[in-house]
């Protein structure tokens, strides 16, 4: 478990500045949410933190070290990411065994078979799924494999980029429960992007509301039902979500 601190994170793509001085802290072992409308830069924050985007300025500190200064091997064993679309995040020609054994081979870890089986058991899949290919799995099963792939390097911080938005509602609940169970068992620090406030309410201790690349407000989970936000945009967002839930 490590705390995460993000300081003045800025990134521009060409002339467009996508993130403006994003600053927030995530305590060690905390589950932190990032909400906002499409294009507000939520996923970009995660891509910067994981160094998938490297041309940002500012600082991302995990534990006591900046991710920029971490050696590649140490970094990927500290931060892992689960992607939004399980149909796009698994290589269509790699079996589950290949997906899970690649990171182990890259890092030269021992007991590969045992680790792979343990990862599958952790995400609630039968061990004989190792021989399957992605097109032989359902969406929920694929996302479980993607989570297993993120777990297998035993990271301390897990970045979740809308891990359930591509899934069916009933499957969403399963995956969220799985993620909650894994956090209570292994004590990850979660950073979860979502546009669904009910998911954030279910999963996160605190969350930040983002708009147009800026953090509008950082709120406690308890602020949702009473709509205790102070900033107008955050209030609108929460009010809209509450109205939607009442309508459903």
């Amino acid at each position: 478990m490590k705390p995460v601190a993000i300081r003045d994170l800025c990134i521009s793509f060409g002339a467009v500045q996508v993130l403006h001085d994003v600053t927030f802290d995530v305590a060690s072992g905390e589950s932190f949410g990032l909400v906002g409308e499409s294009g507000s830069g939520k996923s970009t924050v995660l891509r910067c933190m994981s160094m998938l985007q490297a041309q940002w300025t500012g600082d991302v500190i995990i534990g006591s070290q900046s991710v920029r200064e971490m050696p590649l091997n140490a970094r990927v064993r500290t931060v892992q990411m689960v992607f939004q679309d399980p149909y796009g995040s698994l290589h269509p020609r790699h079996s589950v065994a290949t997906v899970l054994s690649e990171p182990l081979r890259i890092h030269g870890l021992d007991r590969q078979r045992a680790r792979m089986e343990q990862a599958l058991i952790d995400v609630g899949l039968p061990v004989d799924f190792l021989e399957r290919f992605p097109h032989q799995l359902s969406g929920g099963q694929r996302q479980r494999v993607a989570i297993a792939r993120a777990l297998i390097l035993e990271p301390e911080v897990l970045l979740l980029d809308e891990p359930t938005s591509a899934l069916d509602v009933s499957v969403q609940a399963e995956i969220l429960n799985l993620l909650a169970r894994l956090r209570s068992e292994k004590g990850f620090t979660y950073l979860m992007v979502s546009h669904d406030l009910s998911v954030v309410d279910h999963m996160c201790d605190r969350f930040a509301v983002m708009q147009a690349g800026r953090i509008v407000e950082v709120l406690d989970r308890a602020a949702i039902p009473s709509n205790a936000a102070t900033q107008p945009y955050a209030r609108d967002l929460i009010a809209a979500s509450l109205a939607y839930e009442r309508a459903v």
Binding site: L72, G88, S89, H135, R149
Partner: protein
């Protein structure tokens, strides 16, 4: 199912191969391509058994004989048996195809994936080189190479290889560009995989089917270019029984002795048609959902 008699688990590649073959045999056109290709390979292997005469022995008493009379496809201007020369010529054709493929496939794949994955400076340099090769008609470029290297079968193969890789590289680059931003590549990067590893393990397997299809379709062009070079006297040299060279020498007698050019011509037609049809069939068969079906 044949798998029932085998141990439960066959290697994945064998299953894939069996599925592809089964799929190809289901469509009449690709089945034709496969059969012609099989005949070509078997003919090349068993050429000494199938040939009725020595392809090099001249019989000046028996020149320009019509088909029949102990010579299935007649004899040429030096009295050599055309059927036997065609049979031995299949070896030359297969050699050309095989060597061109193993040179062109890897070069094109490597240039294309490296240029597509790295982008930027690599892409600019590699693609401009590719453009230069692409901007010449391939037969003209091969002609220039053969003229510089000297006419022989090996030089023809080198020249054809030099002109055949750019379309493959272009294709592999275009494919790579579509996969480069995919989440599974991001995931591989997040696992600490090096660029070499990502290209080798994640990108190349995705490019391979379309490159293989393109190579198969290219075979027809390769055969025609080789025949063209042979026809112009810049490929296989006499007395080698290369099909294009056979047409070239037969050309002089074509009006009165049609069999000199017709049979080598039909052989070239059949083989290049077979490769085209097979390439079309492979395009359908190499769909990932077909590959791993059990």
């Amino acid at each position: 199912m044949t798998a029932a008699t085998q141990p439960r688990r066959m290697p994945q590649s064998l299953i894939a191969l069996r599925n592809i073959l089964a799929f190809l045999m289901r469509s009449p056109t690709s089945a034709f391509g496969l059969v012609v290709l099989a005949i070509l390979i078997l003919t090349a292997i068993f050429a000494p058994l199938l040939a009725t005469h020595d392809p090099y022995v001249q019989d000046l008493q028996n020149t320009l004989q019509r088909p029949g009379n102990g010579h299935l496809f007649g004899t040429d201007e030096l009295g050599r048996d055309i059927y036997s020369r065609l049979v031995y010529g299949s070896r030359i054709t297969l050699t050309i195809i095989f060597l061109v493929t193993i040179v062109v496939g890897p070069i094109g794949l490597l240039v294309g994936t490296v240029s597509g994955y790295f982008g930027g400076w690599w892409d600019t340099v590699l693609m401009r080189i590719t453009d230069i090769f692409l901007s010449f008609p391939s037969l003209i470029l091969s002609l220039a190479f053969v003229a510089a290297l000297g006419p022989s079968l090996n030089n023809a193969i080198i020249a054809i290889s030099l002109t055949a890789w750019p379309p493959i590289a272009r294709l592999a680059r275009a494919e790579t560009l579509t996969f480069r931003a995919a989440d599974y590549i991001s995931a591989a990067r997040l696992q600490g995989a090096s660029a070499t590893r990502i290209i080798w393990k994640s990108i190349m397997p995705m490019c391979l089917p379309s490159v293989m299809i393109r190579l198969t379709l290219n075979m027809a062009t390769v055969i025609l270019t080789a025949a063209g070079l042979g026809f112009l006297g810049l490929g296989a040299q006499p007395p080698l029984p290369e099909w294009g060279a056979m047409i070239a020498t037969g050309r002089r007698y074509m009006i009165d002795h049609w069999w000199l050019v017709t049979f080598p011509g039909l052989a070239i037609l059949a083989v290049s048609l077979a490769f085209n049809l097979l390439g079309d069939g492979l395009r359908d068969a190499l769909d990932p959902k077909q590959m791993n079906k059990r």
